[in-house]
């Protein structure tokens, strides 16, 4: 099973082994850059299809079906369309900045891919300050957005850009603070190190990890401007926010940056809290028993089918011990599942208002992230049941208190008169 797990690593090593010793380091770098530069747009294109399909299904629709089987070629046709579209630059716009802004937005989004641990030993650069790198690079995006909004010479764009900068800066804070707990517990800034530290237990299964995961994910969602925090581009208010005046390939670049960053947020949440490339640390007999119980409980099926199903799942449970699923499938699977949550949010929620959004960041997520650091300290300093219980109760109490403090009489349940 390790061969499948390390498929890409071996392939890369074999290819590099053909070269001379002098070329190898350079070729290795080129290979990493090449893979990321090729994979990022491909991932983005299919994320658009994924999103369109899922949202369509949530709205009783089919989604794209026309181009290719199941619409699988739709992203290509969209890309082509974007390429051949006219590139409109408004009169009076700052042409240079207008051109640079979308590129500046895409570059950090792609740079983030360098430190995503896609699988065991499948990381382009295992930086020992990976975590700092993530936050440093991801915050460059706000420059691009403000630059694009300003250069467009459009009031909607400027409004959107201002909102965006405010939002990004605000959500950076709880986002960073929520991973401080991880640094405390693992003692490393390297993403590989963080993932490996979760071998026995994913961090999301601890009280501080759960709260941290929620805080990090929510602030991540806000940072990449996705519903319900998609203030900067707020279609119904600001037409399209900072990219109102963009068309053609420049618009596609904005979109690409947005999707790649959203993907990166999911990937980092997986790496930090959801065990990264590791499968769930469930004993194999528990899994087999669970699967057998499920198949036995499917009472609607005829008996032989149930029997075979039980046998098959018991077999699957045995197989499980051999870790049949490669690490990169675990990682990508979890990331896409998390991306589904993003799409799910988008399909369900309206957006918050700009000031409410700020309120959520500063009045709820930030204090919670601070308390979370304390909770993580308690958890690691105390022995097992005491620490867990203490940190869990601390988090619950503080979350409750924060809700009570923040939650003015605004959300009321009303009774309506039914007059004659």
């Amino acid at each position: 099973m390790t061969s499948l797990d390390q498929l890409f690593v071996h392939a890369a090593n074999t290819a590099l082994g053909l070269l001379s010793d002098r070329l190898r380091p350079w070729a290795s770098i080129a290979l990493r850059i090449g893979v990321i530069a090729a994979a990022a747009p491909a991932i983005m294109m299919y994320l658009t299809l994924y999103e369109r399909k899922v949202i369509a299904r949530m709205q009783n629709r089919f989604g794209p079906t026309r181009v290719g089987v199941y619409g699988l070629l739709q992203p290509l046709s969209d890309g082509l369309k974007m390429l051949i579209k006219e590139d409109v630059v408004p009169r009076g716009a700052d042409r240079l900045l207008h051109l640079i802004a979308p590129i500046l937005a895409v570059v950090p989004a792609i740079l983030l891919f360098a430190v995503i641990p896609f699988g065991r030993r499948m990381i382009a650069v295992d930086l020992n300050v990976g975590l700092l790198y993530v936050f440093a690079v991801s915050s460059i995006g706000s420059y691009a957005i403000f630059m694009g909004g300003w250069a467009s010479r459009n009031k909607f764009s400027v409004l959107g850009a201002m909102r965006s900068v405010a939002q990004l800066i605000s959500y950076e804070v709880p986002g960073v603070l929520s991973v401080v707990a991880i640094i405390m517990v693992t003692g490393t800034l390297s993403l590989t190190g963080i993932v490996e530290a979760q071998a026995g237990r994913w961090f999301v299964a601890t009280p501080w990890g759960f709260a941290g995961c929620l805080t990090f994910f929510l602030s991540g969602v806000a940072e990449v401007n996705r519903t319900p925090f998609d203030m900067p581009e707020a279609e119904s208010e600001l037409v399209a926010g900072f990219h109102t005046e963009y068309s053609g390939m420049k618009f596609a670049l904005w979109y690409m940056a947005e999707f790649l960053e959203a993907f990166a947020v999911c990937a980092f949440t997986v790496a930090f809290f959801l065990g990264g490339w590791q499968g769930p640390a469930i004993p194999f007999w528990a899994l087999a028993g669970l699967l057998a119980a499920i198949s036995a409980a499917a009472a609607k099926l005829p008996l032989p089918v149930r029997f075979v199903g039980a046998l098959a799942s018991a077999g699957a449970g045995l197989l499980w011990r051999a870790e049949p699923i490669p690490s990169w499938i675990w990682f990508l699977g979890k990331t896409y599942a998390l991306f589904f949550v993003l799409i799910w949010f988008r399909g369900t929620f309206p957006r918050l208002r700009a000031d409410q959004l700020m309120g959520l960041a500063w009045k709820f997520l930030l204090p919670l992230a601070l308390v979370n650091i304390l909770a993580a300290g308690l958890w690691s300093a105390m022995p097992f049941p005491v620490g867990t219980a203490l940190s869990a109760s601390l988090l619950v109490v503080s979350a409750w208190a924060l809700v009570r403090l923040n939650h003015p009489a605004q959300l009321d349940h009303r009774t309506y008169v039914l007059a004659d």
């Binding site: 299904r57 949530m58 009783n60 629709r61 079906t65 609607k300 799910w344 399909g347 929620f349 939650h407």
Partner: protein, 204 residues
């Protein structure tokens, strides 16, 4: 006081249910946990399948002829032209010979030109309501998109003519009503053996 967040989760539940309802495996899953589910896909893949329209579905009007295309029921009385709310009907007629006497085909006067500008027509059916001869009826064909607004969307008499058989085929019950009405009129006017005349408007 309800717990904050429950409403949000409820909403997520609704969309997830709809999502699952669109897949067969999702419906099986929903039924397994005891949620009744119907096929969630409600849109129609248009060019491949078409919506079933009801019999009364109306789009643009057409002119009815009985057996041969020159045996049209229209006598060119121009009531529809006058009553058409957007004024999209243009009739030249009735046809006359050099002396100015009306020409007749199958015992009826007929229009020389009968144009309907489909780009203006708003499918209101008033022309059908006011026609005393049941000569104009509503068609249910609707795919007339054309880039040529003045050429292809102005229908002349030839394009408008459709047989009574066709009418019977697309709108059986309405055609039956019309036939009964025409038969009654024929029975009434048959003894003096005169073609039907437009009823005196003041008698109505």
């Amino acid at each position: 006081m309800t717990i904050l967040g429950v409403g949000v989760l409820k909403g997520l539940g609704v969309t997830l249910k709809t999502f699952l309802e669109t897949y067969p495996w999702g419906r099986v899953l929903l039924r397994a946990v005891g949620i009744p589910s119907a096929n969630g896909l409600v849109t129609i893949q248009y060019p491949d399948e078409r919506q079933q329209h009801s019999e009364r579905f109306r789009y643009f009007p057409f002119l009815v002829y009985d057996k041969t295309p020159d045996d049209l029921r229209c006598v060119s009385c121009k009531i529809c032209e006058q009553e058409c709310p957007p004024a999209c009907i243009h009739i030249v007629g009735p046809a006359k010979d050099e002396q100015g006497r009306p020409l007749k085909a199958h015992g009826r006067t007929y229009p020389v030109k009968f144009d309907i500008d489909m780009a203006i027509c708003m499918s209101c059916r008033i022309c059908v309501d006011v026609c005393p001869f049941d000569a104009i009826e509503m068609d249910n064909q609707y795919e007339f998109a054309s880039p040529d607004r003045f050429g292809r969307l102005v229908f002349d008499k030839q394009q408008l003519l459709k047989s009574a058989e066709y009418f019977k085929q697309i709108k059986p019950s309405e055609a039956a009503e019309v036939d009964a009405r025409l038969a009654a009129k024929q029975a009434k006017t048959a003894p003096p053996a005169k073609p039907a005349v437009p009823p005196n408007p003041s008698s109505a």
